[in-house]
Subunit: 158 residues, 2 copies
Amino acid sequence: MADEALFQFLHNEVIQYIYKSDENEEMENGRCITKLENMGFRVGQGLIERFTKDTARFKDELDVMKFICKDFWTSVFKKQIDNLRTNHQGIYVLQDNKFRLLTQLSAGKQHLEHAPKYLAFTCGLVRGGLSNLGVKSIVTAEVSVMPACKFQVMIQKM
Amino acid sequence: MADEALFQFLHNEVIQYIYKSDENEEMENGRCITKLENMGFRVGQGLIERFTKDTARFKDELDVMKFICKDFWTSVFKKQIDNLRTNHQGIYVLQDNKFRLLTQLSAGKQHLEHAPKYLAFTCGLVRGGLSNLGVKSIVTAEVSVMPACKFQVMIQKM
């Protein structure tokens, strides 16, 4: 509870800071999102290193994804991903029915436009985690009804 | 362990981001420190609200400080403050012999100059926490031998 709050408050501050430091108005929304995503990427890289220190080697890509959905997600967000789907061709959809970083936003439709900034860091987190496990990917997120959201992972074959 | 890592990595990213966003070189060290401190302040305000939700009313200022040293510090840094001293005239010195946000820095003297940026957020955290408990203060920090450090709280009488 305490830890959750710490992360959540700091995460909010980071978003606000990045959007506010847009003083010269040069930095539009897209650039802020990229910055948040990059931050998440580096944090994800660091975290996965710690988390997998004592883990057995992964069998395959699906095994890696399951680790992200269970262990990784639980460590960061205190719950597992609710649903993992794949087309078995390198696309995975991770659904979280109650995504922690969205639960604080009110659910009205008028707030939907703000959702992307609350998802960018986490997209990076997943991409960074996967990257350090040798899986190159593109991660995007979408929200239809808050606080549920879907992260789509597209594996980039090397 | 996992939570610690999450906070620590994000904290590092924030420091780096703030120092790097100094693109136009107008923002010198002092301004970065202030920004980190302000961020900590707001996070501290939020946290203390959660932490004291079910707490009995505090007897006095010393009682508040003890709460910061024990409950608050443990929630955030996974350990208590090792030593609390006061001159009974509004100055408190909180000593942490192994401050978590410094343990990752190497202990060489040449790194001492970087210590302030790793302490600024926490100074703000304490100031924000105290502020929401009705105690106005100025908080500074100093390091003599890493990773030990002292936070000095000067209560501002209103």
